[in-house]
């Protein structure tokens, strides 16, 4: 009996080790982003800080990978979120968007934040600093809406 348990545990360890060498690759990180939102527009520093701490890990090229990004299979889920997040909205590519897309994205930001869909619960669990207070939520929503109006006038 004891032997069986030992074998099961051992094989689990072996599988876990193998997992570390397979699976998707980590999305790239780039720190030089001339088309980044922050480089293209002057954003209030409070809003900028909030965007950086609550959104930029998944919605820009400047991802700060946490330690568990090195541990499969958790990392796979993380990579997935980042890929998806960048595809949906990548602040590092802000300057490449046309007027209509910018407005659409800002309206989406306002909606997602207002409804509490973003930042993702998963993310907030591991990044408590990304949990938005009501004030912070309002600040982001107001910023997104007023920036959209600004873009509209351009």
């Amino acid at each position: 009996m004891k032997k069986v348990v030992l074998y099961v545990l051992l094989s689990l360890v072996v599988v876990f080790v193998i997992l570390q060498f397979v699976g998707p690759t980590r999305p790239e990180v780039r720190t030089d982003n001339p088309k980044d939102l922050m480089a293209m527009a002057s954003i209030d520093s409070k809003v900028a800080d909030l965007l950086k701490s609550a959104c930029y890990d998944c919605h820009s090229m400047e991802t700060n990978y946490p330690w568990y990004a090195n541990v499969a299979p958790v990392s796979w889920r993380l990579f997935d979120h980042i890929e998806e997040g960048r595809e949906e909205l990548n602040f590092s590519e802000w300057g490449t968007l046309g007027k209509v897309k910018k407005i659409r994205k800002l309206k989406d930001v306002a909606e997602e934040v207002e409804e509490g869909k973003m930042p993702l619960d998963d993310y907030v669990t591991w990044h408590p600093e990304a949990k938005l207070s009501e004030d912070q939520k309002n600040m982001l929503v107001e910023w997104a809406n007023s920036f959209a109006r600004e873009v509209m006038k351009q």
Binding site: K101, R104, K107, A148, R149, M152
Partner: protein, 136 residues
């Protein structure tokens, strides 16, 4: 000019064909507005017909599907600010591009509800033209 006028219908008119089965008093307010209307959105007749037959069933006040009502209400578009309208039109174009609507389930059940390639292309051209007009 006359052709252009008659071809442009306002969103509220969308209930026209789809409410045929409802009793007269249940019909939503219908109105036909021409190009001079202050509304920032207008529907050429062919676009109107596609929306009416393939989208309006779920995206209208009469719909029994709360999700689709919340996601898009055609009749609300005419009263929207340009900026809101722009965002919605971009979303409509994206949904068309990805072929998400009408939903697969509906199309499985009612194959005739599927948007043909021509219809999708027509709606997309219209959405783009509307957005360009708004963004100017």
């Amino acid at each position: 000019m006359k052709n252009k006028l008659t071809a442009l219908l306002c969103a509220a008119g969308l209930g026209l064909a789809s409410t045929g089965s409802l009793k007269a008093q249940e019909k939503p307010q219908l109105k036909v507005v021409f190009a001079e209307s202050e509304s920032q959105i207008s529907y050429p007749l062919d676009v109107f017909n596609i929306i009416d037959s393939k989208c309006y069933g779920c995206h209208s006040p009469q719909s029994r599907n709360e999700d689709s009502k919340e996601a898009l209400q055609w009749i609300d578009l005419q009263d929207m600010e340009a900026i809101e309208l722009l965002a919605i039109m971009d979303e409509i174009e994206e949904v068309l591009e990805e072929g998400k609507m009408p939903p697969e389930k509906i199309v499985e059940k009612y194959p005739h509800m599927k948007l043909t390639e021509e219809e999708t292309a027509r709606l997309k051209t219209w959405a783009e033209a509307t957005m360009n007009g708004l963004a100017e």
